[in-house]
Assembly symmetry: C3
Amino acid sequence: MTLTTQPADALAQMRETAPLVHCITNYVAMNIAANVLLAAGASPAMLHTPEESGDFAAIAGALTVNFGTLSPNWVDGMHKAIDGAQAAGKPWVFDPVAHYASPWRAGIARDLLARQPTILRANASEVLALGGGETAAKGPDAGDEVAAAEATARTLATELGAVVAVTGATDFVTDGTRAVRIDGGSPLMPLVTAMGCSLTCLVGAYAAALDDPFDATVGALALFARAGDIAAQGASGPASFQTAFIDTLHALRPDALAAVAVTDA
Amino acid sequence: MTLTTQPADALAQMRETAPLVHCITNYVAMNIAANVLLAAGASPAMLHTPEESGDFAAIAGALTVNFGTLSPNWVDGMHKAIDGAQAAGKPWVFDPVAHYASPWRAGIARDLLARQPTILRANASEVLALGGGETAAKGPDAGDEVAAAEATARTLATELGAVVAVTGATDFVTDGTRAVRIDGGSPLMPLVTAMGCSLTCLVGAYAAALDDPFDATVGALALFARAGDIAAQGASGPASFQTAFIDTLHALRPDALAAVAVTDA
Amino acid sequence: MTLTTQPADALAQMRETAPLVHCITNYVAMNIAANVLLAAGASPAMLHTPEESGDFAAIAGALTVNFGTLSPNWVDGMHKAIDGAQAAGKPWVFDPVAHYASPWRAGIARDLLARQPTILRANASEVLALGGGETAAKGPDAGDEVAAAEATARTLATELGAVVAVTGATDFVTDGTRAVRIDGGSPLMPLVTAMGCSLTCLVGAYAAALDDPFDATVGALALFARAGDIAAQGASGPASFQTAFIDTLHALRPDALAAVAVTDA
């Protein structure tokens, strides 16, 4: 089996560690991402300015970088934070939100990708475009199926020496050698803003607690998928789903993750 | 009858289009505004920096500009975005939050108003003050009744060549020639922050999907009013109301909008 | 008894005043803090830029400064706002979020503390570190018990000529002479992000409405504690707790505050 640490053990380990996660994320996502991490059992910290981002990334357990609502001074803060994380040997996770939305943003994404993220988490459209392919998307919502991006994800993972996670109805995770698909979640998830951004932060929490970034990524995605399954039962729409989802992240016991279908790909 | 496209048809058309809406809005509003658009059936994108705002506004279906938590570099981004939207022939919606709160902010509002918004959405205090009148408000909460701002709204609409929407317990919409009032909603709505800001973004979604900005504005306001009516039933306070409101935006079928009272004014 | 105005009367007085509160707070907190103030009966305004922050602080009833997601241009805006508030004789409240997180942030905290806040609200780790002591915390989550910070809080209150509130499972409030402990709330509260930041804004609302900043602080903390007690009944996790908490802030009648244990310390 591809995984050394199963999702149930990964969750227990993450909660035991209660990692401090340095999240540089966008304005839309900050509140929900912090709540997702607190509910799941991690300790989020949102700060971004170059005057302190490098110092803080060095003491946190992991760094996550999401550039949704980007501006030039935040880019400096991201690079300084990556400097700090890498000097301290801490993993960092990159989430290139809608990097194809403008030529300027695409250039920033290339620069950040060149900084060798430990893990790349993106939707299918973002992965396809990073690989030089065509995408149907223009904004942050995906316009392509995960399956269409699997080959590109494998190539990217090998080229970058990173774990690449493509998330959607069925997630795909690969490090170029190993690869799995994860089923679960709910069609309500893309109707709640910043769920993907929050997942990126959660991947950071797992990466801080587990040695293997592949197992860490699969663990975080499995938790999201299972919590999505459970929260969708009885939800009346996207907002009551969001409430139930965060409550579930807190209440869910590791053994409930045995129900998640993680299959070799 | 004043409307060519009734609210029920306007909602169906907006959902059919699923427009990409470029929202430049304040930090308080970003999350709820994105969730309102996703629940209603549109695709929001929040980005603001001058390096990309013009490029993106040109490819989105509409642009909305709200300057709640303003700073100088955001003003540049707003102007670049307006440049992009106008060059591409896309509508833009202006929401001059508490423009009377400081002399500096008032000047920015005048500059943005001079850029000929397609639609202006504001509360009664903001409209009165734009027209040079007195207002009881100092911050973002309205201190005046919509009825007191109707005459000013008509004058502004004619002067600006824009649709002007004054929202409150009874909304008023005019393009200088046509005018309607829309009843509905709940007294809980002003107790949820950024509902007006979210409505501005939703007006953008309708303006992207419908040719007539007057019908688009009335359609968005009618959806808000009806969803507010429904969500208030059984809400225990402002937060459970917000959850029910977003769930309702998603669940509401177009024919439920026949119940909204839109009357000529 | 230490209090001149009991929490029940303080709430009635705050709602009667419906104060306009100028909140400079972090990106994570802005939405929930605004909703907390609206639900409780105050009128929040979020704006920060130096071009207008001084003008606005002078017309608001109180100013609150929280530097969670700090950057240099926000620091300028904070100082200008303090200038405006002090020139107009308005109280201001300081919340030094994780000031020990970086040397740069610690320096900003010292500069702001030297501006003589009317009230300092912080968690135990932040208070201990302000007093020069050791703390177990690295990020925004407290790593120490309130009891361990009481002596430091008394010293700080005397040195600063300020009310110091240390919040946690049992809160401690002192002005150097008077001191009380407040029991209540729920273990779910630290699992909801920005609850402390929101409380800081609420303390500002009370400080705008009451003459005595000690009574104002105790009143705000008593409301939070009691609303937390009530909201925890029936909550399924952190997110449903947050919803119930904001609903409760709106529904709670002053006489329900008689149940809060405020004891001399």
